[in-house]
Every structure is written in C-alpha cells, then in structure tokens.
C-alpha cells in the first residue's frame, strides 16, 4: 500500500538574493489608504521552540493530529475524498479536514496552481497558525506538469510558500498521498518540518516571488 518511491523531499532552494539587504518595507503596499486601516501590518516572526523533551512530545501530538485545510486548489483535491471516506479513512491517523485555515495545520496543494489560485493559497497559508505544513500533490505542483508552458500557472510552488512534502504523479493514487502524509509525520516527529519559520525568515523573498507573478496585487502583505 505504501509506495514511498512516489514521494520526493524537496531540496532547499539553492540560491536567493540577500533579502535582508534588499528588504523593502512592506506596508500593505497593494492597498489603498483607507483599506490599510483594516489590515494588520505586523510581519510574521520566526517562532522559538520550547525545550527539547517537551518539543518532542508536542511534535508527537502534532503529527498525530494533522488537520487538513479543506481547500481543493486543483484537480488533485479529488484524492482527498477517498482518503477521508471508508476505503482509506485517514481519520484513523488522527487526520481530519477542517473548513477554516485558522484551525488547520496541513495545507494540501492539490495540483496545478494557477496564478489566481496562488493569491488565495498565499492568503490561506498565511492565515494558518504555526506550526503549519504544506504537502504538494501532483506533478503540476512540482514543476508545472502538463501546464509547463502555461502563461497562467506557477511551476514551482515552493518559490511562493515553503513545501514540506511533494507527492508526484498525475494524479497520485490515494496510497501515494497517504505515504506523503506518513512522510510528513516522520518529518514532524523529527523536528524537521519548520516551513513556518522558513517562511517568516525569508518573508521578503517569498513576497517578492509572489508579487512577481501576481500582477494585480490588491491584497495585504500580511495576511494574519
């Protein structure tokens, strides 16, 4: 059932500009004057971990209570249905879909990410409370897949939000997705799934990437 070969662990992005030097002060630049009052403008900060024994215990709890954000961003989201229903039943692993990003801890990117969807993905991701994890499912989320030369699809999702686990396939079978989640659990238990802190540290870089593809940027820069 578990075919781990389908799973790819992403390499860290090799090079990026020295964002600390180039850091522009983002003050909800995309918003009009009036709208700025309605959005918070605090940057996300990297979170500190507690002492190790405690952190191990908490990581165990986190890995056994993975709440998925029920936001089907692409066709791969169809795989979530067999996962949560009788045949695969991820609830036995302590996982369940949550309708609001506030309460979810795993964001499953379900395939191709159009630029329009990216906007929503970014907002939803930023509204999730840390520690938060991203599982990118389908080839399209890894390299664009069949949308390789599309004008409207992003190719590497981890340039925009940090991804913990990729699951390849077009589409991956539920078993593969399940294997991906198992991998994620391992990573969490090992304390290696720190995408949230990565995002906070490289916030400006991520923002720059996001803004590069999203032309009509009318969102706040800090989607708390």
């Amino acid at each position: 059932m578990n075919d781990i070969n389908d799973t790819i662990i992403p390499e860290p992005v090799p090079e990026y500009p020295d964002w600390r030097k180039d850091a522009k002060t983002l003050t909800n630049a995309g918003l009009s004057e009036e709208e700025q009052d309605w959005f918070c403008d605090a940057r996300p900060q990297p979170a500190k971990k507690s002492w190790q024994v405690m952190e191990n215990f908490l990581n165990w709890a986190r890995s056994n209570s993975l709440w998925i954000l029920a936001f089907g961003t692409g066709c791969g989201a169809i795989e979530l249905r067999p996962l949560i229903t009788a045949r695969y039943d991820i609830s036995r692993l302590g996982m369940q879909p949550r309708p609001t990003p506030r309460q979810a801890s795993v964001f499953m990117i379900g395939g191709y990410v159009s630029i329009k969807t990216l906007k929503r993905i970014v907002r939803s991701y930023e509204q999730m409370q840390g520690p938060k994890f991203v599982v990118a499912v389908c080839s399209c989320a890894i390299n664009g897949g069949m949308y390789w030369d599309s004008y409207n699809t992003v190719k590497r999702i981890d340039e925009y939000i940090p991804v913990d686990v990729y699951v390849t396939g077009c589409m991956p079978r539920p078993e593969a997705v399940l294997a991906g989640f198992s991998k994620l659990k391992e990573l969490i238990k090992g304390g290696k799934a720190e995408g949230q802190n990565l995002y906070a540290e490289k916030f400006d870089w991520y923002k720059e990437n996001q803004k590069r593809v999203i032309k009509d940027w009318n969102m706040p820069d800090y989607n708390w």
């Binding site: 959005f39 506030r102 708390w224």
Partner: protein, 1048 residues
C-alpha cells in the same frame, strides 16, 4: 353694595360721550374706554368683597323703585359680581388687544365695543326676560357691526350668516317670551320660577322656544355653521370676545332660565350639549385651519357647559355645586379660548402646521402651552377640578352615558389640542409673528392670571397636601432660570431633589413607599447627571425633569385619590413635554399623550368608584386596609396598564421611547414605567381582601403579563433601531412585573418588586450606554454601527453588564429576578405561565445579542473611525448603575430582605421562605428551591479566573490583528458594510414565528384612527358653507329637539 345700574349707566354714558371725546383726541377716547372697563371690573370686585363680608346683603335691585313685576329687576350677587369682574377685565384686555383697530376706526368702533360689553354686562345682571332680549340684541348688533369693520368677503358673508341666525334665534326667543308672558302675566324670571310649573303643553312649548332661542345662540352642533364661519373669518380680537364674553353672557342667561325647565327639557338640553361637545370635538380632530379648529373647540366648550349645567340641574344638585363646577370649566375656557384666539391674531397663520413660528418667541410658546393644557383640563387648572367632580357626580348617580360622553369628548379634545401643541413646538416655519405690545399684553396677562389662579387653587384646595405643589413650583422656578447653563441647573436639581428625597420624602413613607421612592426618585436623580452633558442651557429639560421627579414624590405620598390623580396627571404632562423635546417626536408624543389621557380617564373613572380615604396618610400605607370594588379595580388597572405598555395598549410605547431624547428615554423606560407598577400594586393591595392568586381575574392578568413579555421580546428581536429594540424590551420586562404582581402572593410581589428594581438598574444602564453611542455615531440603526467596542469600551462594558442582567444569566442580579419569578409562579401552580415566561426570557437572548453584536462587535464602519468615548456626564450614571448591579448581585440580601419586609406588611411572609446567610431557601409544600447569589458569584469568579490565567499563560504571545484579518473563504473582504452580519439578523426566526408579530395592534389603532377621521370628515360635510343651509340646520335642529321633547 354697588348699584349695578351705575355700571350700565357708565357704559352708556361712555358710549355716547365717545363720539365727543374722539373729536378731542382719539387716544383720550380709547383711554376713557379702558377706564370704564377698569372701573366696571373694579366695581364687580368691590361687590365681591362686599358680599364676602356681608353674605346676607340684599342683592336684588329694582330699576324704577318698584318691586319686580312692575319694574325691571337686576341682581348683583356673588356669581354676577364674579362674572362682571371677569367680563370687564376681559373687555379691557380685549380692548387693549384691539387698540390698533380702535385707533384706525375711531369713535364708532369704540362705541360699538362699549355697547357690546354693555350688552354682556346687562345680560348678566338683569332678571327680566324681555330686558334680557334687549341686552342680547345690543350685544348681538354691536358685534355684528364690529364684524363689519373688517370688510373682507369672508368676514362680510360670515356676518350675514351670523345676523340671519341671530335674528332667527331672537325671533324664536321673542315668540317664546310673549307666550310665556301670556301664561304668567309677567316678564320677571324670578316670578316665573316662583309660579312653579304650569301644567300646559302650550306653556311648555313657549318655554321651549325661549330656551331654544338662547340655546341656538350658544352654537350647538350641528346648528352652528354660522358661528364657525364667524370665528374663522372675524378679527381674532373680536372672535376672542365673542367666544368668551358673548358665550359667557348667553350661558348665564341659559343658567337663569334653568329652574323653569321640566326634567325632560333639561334632559334634552343636557343631551344636546353633550352631543355638541363630542361631535364638535370630533370634527375639530381633522381641522387644519387654526381658527376654524378654535371655532369647533369653542362650540364644543359651550356645548360642554350647557351640558354640565343642565345635567347637574337635572340631578338636583345644590346651586353652589353647579356654579362651582361650571365656573371652574368656564373660568379656564374663558381665558384659554380667548387667549388662543388672541394668539391666532399674533401668529397670523391659518394652517396649524405653520404654528411653528411661535417658536421664535419662547414666551408666547409658553403662553400657548398654558392655554392648551388648561383647556384640556389638566391639573392644576380649574377645569381639572371641575371635571374631577363631574366624573364623581356622574359616577355617584350612575349617569354612565353622560360620563362616557364627557370623557370621550375630552379625549378627542386632547387629541387635537395636543396635535396643535406638537406643531407649535416641533414644526419649523419661516414665517414671522405680528407682535406688538398691545397685542401681547392680553394673552400674557390672561396666561399669568390663569396660572396664578390655578396655582392658588391647588395650594388652597381643601385636602391637597403640600407635595402636590412641589412639581408646579419646580416647573415655575426652573422655568425661570432656564437660561442658565445646563451643568449648573443639573447640579442644583440634583442637590435639591436629593435633599428633598432624603429629608422630606423618605421619612414620611412606610417601607413600601420608600422602596418606590428609591426606584422612582432615586433612579431619576442618578440619571439627571446625564442631562448635564449638554453645553449651554439645554432649555426645556430641567423644568420638566424636576417637575417629573417631584410628581413621582407626590404620587407615592398621595393620601387621597385626588392627590394620586393630580400627581399622575402632572407626571404625564411632564413626561409628555420631555418626550416632545425629541427631534422628531411630534407624532410619538401625541400618541403618548392620547394613550396616557385615555388611561388617565380610565383611572379617573376607577378612582371615582373608590371609597374615601384618610387624608394625611399615604395611600400606600392605607392600601392594606382599604377595599374597593372590582369595577373600580378593573378600570384603574386598565389605566395603569396603559402606562406600563401592556400588550394591546402598548402601541404608544415604541415610538415614544424611540423619538424622545436619549436620556429622556432612559428615564421613561427605567423609571416612569414603574409609576404604573406602583399604581397597579396599589390597586392589587386594595382588592387583596377578596381576590386571591387563583382568582380568574388574576390568572387572566397573569396571562396578559406573560403575553406582554412574550410579544414584547419577539418584537424587540426584529427591530433594527436600537431604541425601538430597547423599548420593546422594556415592554417585555414590564410583562414579567405584571405576572409577578398578578400572583397576589408574598413571593410574587417580592419577585415583581425585585424585577422592578433590577429593571431600573439595567435598563437605565443600557440606555445610558446606548445614549452615548447614539451621541457619538449620530444614528440609531444598529446595522449602521459595528465594532464600537474598541472605540467605546466603557459603553460596551455597560451594555455587557446590562444584557447579562437582562437575560438573567447568573451571577448578576438578573438571575435573581428570574429565579423569583419562576419560583413564585411554580409555587402557585402557574405552570404554563412559567413555561411561556421561560420562552420569552430565552427570546431575550436574541435581541440582546443583536444589540450588543451589531453595535459593539463585528466590523467597524469607516465613517465611525472618529468615534470616541462619551462625555463623563453619561458615564457617571453608568458607573452608579454598574455599582448598584454588582452590589445587589454580590449581596442579594441588600435588596431581597427589605423587599420581603415591605411586602410582608401587606401579605405576611410565609414560614417556608427563609434566609440562611445569603442563601434564600424556599420550603413550601408545593415547591422547594434555593438560591445563594453570593456563592454563585464566588464560584463564577473562580471558574472564570482559572481558565483566564491558563489562557494568558499558554497564549502569552498573541498577535493583535485588524478587523479584516479574517478567514474569508481565502478571499479578502472589501467593505465592512457587507461583512457585518446585522440587518434582519433573525430572518429565519421570523420565518417560523413571524405570525406572532404581525402588527395587529398597529392595524387596530390605525383602523380606529382612520374611522375616527372618516367620521369626522363625513360629519364636517354638513357645514356646506351655504348660509341658507345653515338656516335650514337651525330649523331642523329646533324641530328635532322639539320632537325629542315629545310635548303634545
């Protein structure tokens, strides 16, 4: 002893001399005329003084030195002297008012005016019927001629109509006189009376013709079209004199003739007078033209007076009583009606809605108010006392139809007069007043005279305590200093009222009275702070506020039914004025006063059925021993329930509460409604000897209360206007009080009083907080607000405390009231009522959440970013009430024990109710239960603080975010308006239960109103404007009365 001939001679001499003097100097002629009036009035006054010192003096004077049949007799008794004084005073005032006319028209006008007054004076004095005819004609002809001075089309044709009608009336009179003469052989009225009844149909017909001749001149409905036109078109100064002096003189003539009439005739005239009173008032209801309205009002009033003297005569009451009552009515009318005509001349606006110009001169506005309120028969004006006694007399003689007619007509009168007052106070109008010293003097002096007389009347009236004067004194004194800054006046008012309440009111009361004193007076004083927020003078608040508070005091201390009623009416008046001060409160205030007056009349009738009380001891003390009949109780209860806004008669409540100024609404809701509770409790105490909890009536009252609570809560839940919501909430809460009172048990009354105290605290608290919100946001629509918690945290805390208390959630005191109500209901086996109470109290959550959510939570609106916390003056009362709520929540014994003790004086505390520390233990055979408010408070604090500490520990670093940082289906919101869930918040609820809140009361009252207006409009059609039709009316009227009389 003054020879009345002197007066007549003086007038004649002056009238003839005028032509000569006018040649010398016009001013001198006018001056001479004034001197004559002054002298005549002085003679009348002197005669009064003389008769007072020598009561047995001979008052009959014979013109030619022979006794009656051979010469004309004049009488100059007390009544005549009084009337002469009044009339000549009036002649003087009216003369001053007409100064410009006299100056313009010269000797002719002066002579005519003198002749007119001569006629009036003669008519009063003479005891000879033919002489009466002569004076009548002098009076009439001079007034015809004076009318002709204003040569406009309308004035002239009205004059012709008047002359034709007057001529016909005098023709009838004359024929009647000559036939009576044929039977009696004399023209002296006293001799006629002495001859007694002559058993002849022809004689009766002749008498009838004499009477109808006079009666037609008194302008009875519907034979009065000519008079209406006359009043409408004539010069206001002249109309004033005709309405007062001419009517007065004719009335007195009618009064002189009364002893001649057989009972059937008296009956007919009383009935005709009453019909005139009711129907003229009914038609007046839809008048838009001020002078025509006054015309209807005048005819109504003369109808009332005819009715009163005829009816009282029929009841064979002593002359003194008839005269005192009739003069009470007459005196008020005399000044008020003429005063209003004079004002009409100053305002110079036909349309009622244009009377807003009066606002340009607050003095005139006050005068206008005095006249209108006096005319309606509110205390302290003499008409009030007259009506009070009339009602008592009619009740005692079981003259139900007369009573009903009297009250109905009075109610209609209140309707249009108050509408008019509303226009004058509220409607803006750009017009100008035509003011001049001569024109201002007359209304001013009559207003002062009327007020002073009333003031002395209420001060000297036998059996009225000093407390009844306080409200009026407060009104007067604060009215005089109304230009002072609001803060100063507020401080003085609070100081004075506190001193009075603490040192004078409280010590004079039994415990139950003290409870109500705390609620009514204490509650008001605490809220007075809010009125100090106004910058500048804030005219119109403090006179009526202090009047209101003092009238609460006199209500509680009232020892007789009359004191009670006076206090009740003064309270109503003061609250009406306060409501009227609201920006758009014109219609709401009218609705309030009409309903209140209706309630007051029910109450008046109820009170008139009550046995006499012991003056000097507060009713609340006596109530335990007094016992009244169920009819009295029923009507009085009806009156009080209207003030409380019980279901069915709640129609006035929402709009009045909503449109009054915010601070006023707070007082209305939290304090004024408790006055109704006081009254209801009083009535229940008086019937407690034979009505028990399981009586059908009390169960019915209980259901009324429960449904009031239920419908009130449902209605509140569907309002979008915060004040309307709170208004319906008040209605609902008062429903609980009614249920509690209806239980007639110790526990039930304690629960009602506990609820009353609680309602005062939390409703005042919420209203004060909401007042500050309205002040800052400038709107009352809740959906236009939102997120104000960050801008106005204190207001939020107040509302939060308030709604926790309203909803009855422990640990705050609200739960206590719920606990008491349930236990008292269940203890008496009122299970189903308890069930519905529970449902209502659950519905309360709907509107309370709506209130706090849509205003303080949710999305803040961009246009309210400037909003800040309210001024300190609004926060002080909130602080007081929060502390009060906390105190009685923490230590419920502070209030439950005194209440139980107070109730225990009337219904003994049962053994099974006991206090164990703070634990109230109920061990009745029917019900066990307990409540320990103190412990609940501690437990709640404990279970609240521990999780809070945990959360602070775990959640130490929490990012504070802004309003749009919400999960919005991966999108971002674009407008706070569309993101704030507020409008029609409980749509689904009313999809299911909407049929309960269909506006049935509204439909009913609007139907009543439409029908009244339609009838009024239809009736008004008989006045076609055609002079011939009016002549026909007179004939048909005469024939109808004749047929009704049934003389064969």
């Amino acid at each position: 002893m003054v020879n009345p001939m002197i007066i007549l001679a003086m007038f004649l001499l002056a009238a003839f001399a005028t032509a000569l003097i006018d040649k010398l100097s016009r001013m001198l002629a006018i001056g001479t005329m004034y001197v004559v009036f002054a002298l005549a009035a002085g003679l009348g006054a002197w005669q009064l003084y003389f008769l007072q010192s020598m009561p047995d003096a001979q008052t009959m004077v014979y013109s030619a030195g022979f006794p009656a049949p051979l010469s004309i007799a004049l009488r100059f008794g007390v009544v005549e002297a009084f009337l002469i004084t009044l009339m000549n005073l009036f002649g003087l005032l009216g003369g001053v008012y007409l100064f410009k006319r006299f100056k313009e028209h010269g000797a002719g006008a002066i002579a005519l005016y003198l002749a007119m007054l001569l006629g009036a004076n003669g008519l009063v004095l003479t005891r000879d019927i033919f002489n009466s005819f002569v004076f009548m004609e002098i009076l009439s002809i001079s007034s015809y001629a004076l009318i002709g001075l204003k040569q406009t089309k309308n004035s002239l044709i009205a004059g012709i109509k008047y002359m034709l009608a007057g001529g016909l009336a005098s023709a009838l009179f004359l024929i009647g006189v000559i036939f009576v003469y044929r039977f009696t052989g004399t023209l002296n009225i006293d001799t006629w009376i002495a001859m007694g009844n002559i058993p002849s149909a022809a004689y009766l017909v002749a008498l009838f013709m004499v009477a109808i001749g006079v009666f037609i001149e008194l302008k009875p409905f519907p034979a009065n079209g000519w008079a209406l036109d006359l009043y409408q078109s004539a010069d206001s100064g002249l109309a004033a004199i005709i309405a007062s002096v001419q009517t007065g003189a004719m009335l007195f003539l009618f009064y002189k003739l009364l002893p001649l009439f057989i009972p059937e005739m008296l009956n007919i005239f009383a009935g005709a007078g009453l019909v005139s009173f009711v129907f003229a008032n009914l038609i007046a209801l839809r008048q838009k033209d001020a002078k025509r309205l006054l015309a209807y009002s005048s005819t109504a009033q003369s109808g009332l007076l005819v009715f009163v003297i005829a009816a009282l005569y029929l009841l064979k009451l002593p002359d003194t009583i008839i005269l005192v009552i009739a003069l009470g009515l007459f005196f008020t009318n005399f000044f008020a009606k003429a005063g209003l005509f004079w004002l009409a001349g100053i305002v110079k606006q036909d349309n009622l809605s244009a009377w807003g110009v009066l606002k340009k001169d607050s003095g005139l506005l006050i005068i206008f108010g005095v006249f209108v309120i006096g005319l309606m028969g509110f205390p302290p004006f003499p008409a009030f006392f007259a009506k009070w006694h009339l009602v008592h007399i009619f009740t005692a003689t079981k003259a139900w139809i007369w009573l009903a007619g009297l009250l109905l007509g009075s109610l209609l009168e209140v309707g249009y007069l108050m509408r008019w007052l509303g226009f004058a106070v509220k409607q803006e109008h750009p017009g100008e007043l035509s003011k001049s010293f001569s024109k201002m003097l007359a209304p001013m002096i009559s207003a002062i005279f009327l007020t002073t007389a009333s003031f002395f009347l209420i001060k000297l009236y036998p059996g009225l305590g000093a407390f009844n004067v306080y409200p009026l004194m407060a009104l007067l004194l604060f009215g005089l200093v109304d230009y002072a800054p609001a803060k100063l006046k507020g401080a003085i008012a609070i100081g004075v009222l506190s001193y009075w309440a603490w040192f004078m009111l409280l010590p004079s009361l039994p415990l139950m009275g003290q409870v109500f004193a705390v609620i009514l007076v204490g509650g008001s004083i605490a809220q007075l702070f809010a009125f100090m927020r106004y910058n500048g003078a804030a005219e119109g608040f403090f006179p009526f506020l202090t009047m209101l508070v003092f009238s609460f005091g006199s209500l509680i201390t009232a020892s007789t039914t009359m004191e009670l009623f006076i206090a009740w009416e003064l309270m109503t008046l003061a609250s009406y004025m306060l409501i009227l001060r609201g920006k758009k409160a014109k219609d709401a205030a009218l609705l309030y006063i009409v309903f209140s007056t209706f309630g007051a009349y029910l109450l008046l009738f109820g009170l008139s059925l009550m046995p006499s009380t012991y003056p000097g001891y507060p009713l609340i003390l006596q109530a335990g021993f007094l016992s009244i009949g169920w009819v009295a109780a029923l009507f009085a209860t009806g009156g009080f329930l209207i003030k409380m806004g019980a279901l069915g008669v709640h129609y006035w409540l929402p709009s009045a509460y909503a449109e009054a100024d915010d601070e006023t609404t707070s007082i209305l809701s939290s304090v004024l409604s408790k006055a109704g509770v006081f009254g209801l409790l009083l009535i229940l105490m008086m019937i407690s000897s034979y009505v028990k909890s399981n009586s059908l009536s009390m169960i019915a009252l209980g259901w009324l209360g429960v449904f009031t609570a239920f419908i009130g809560a449902l209605m509140a839940a569907r309002q979008e206007d915060a004040k309307l919501l709170l208004a319906y909430s008040s209605m609902s809460q008062l429903g609980y009080i009614v249920v509690g009172l209806s239980l007639m048990s110790h526990l039930g009354w304690v629960s009602a009083l506990y609820m009353a105290v609680n309602h005062l605290f939390f409703k005042a608290l919420i209203f004060m907080a909401m007042a500050s919100v309205f002040l800052r946001t400038g709107t009352r629509n809740m959906y236009e607000m939102g997120g104000l918690i960050k801008k106005m945290p204190i207001a939020f805390i107040s509302v939060l405390m308030g709604i926790i208390a309203v909803s009855g959630v422990p640990p705050l005191s609200g739960f206590g009231s719920k606990w008491f109500i349930y236990t008292s209901l269940l203890e008496q086996g009122r299970y189903l009522q308890a069930g519905l109470v529970f449902f209502s109290s659950a519905i309360a959550f709907l509107y309370l959440y709506k209130l706090i959510h849509t205003v303080f939570l949710g999305q803040a609106k961009p246009n309210q970013s400037h909003v800040k916390e309210a001024p300190i003056w609004l926060i002080i009362p909130q602080g007081i009430f929060i502390m009060a709520i906390m105190a009685i929540s923490m230590f419920p014994n502070l209030i439950t024990k005194p209440l139980s003790q107070a109730v225990g004086n009337y219904i003994a505390k049962p053994d099974w109710l006991s206090w164990d520390g703070y634990n109230i233990v109920l061990n009745s055979p029917a019900l066990h239960g307990n409540w320990n408010g103190n412990l609940v408070m501690y437990v709640t604090m404990g279970v609240f603080i521990i999780p809070l500490l945990w959360l602070l520990l775990v959640n130490a670093k929490t990012q504070k975010v802004k309003q749009f940082n919400i999960v919005f289906a991966a999108e971002r919101p674009y407008k706070p308006e569309t993101t704030h869930y507020a409008y029609n918040m409980f749509a689904h609820y009313f999809k299911a239960l909407g049929f309960w809140v269909e506006p049935r009361a509204t439909a009913f009252y609007q139907g009543v109103s439409e029908w009244t207006h339609s009838i009024s409009a239809t009736l008004a059609r008989i006045y076609t404007g055609n002079g011939q039709t009016y002549i026909l009316h007179i004939f048909l009227y005469m024939i109808t009365l004749y047929l009704l009389l049934g003389v064969r």
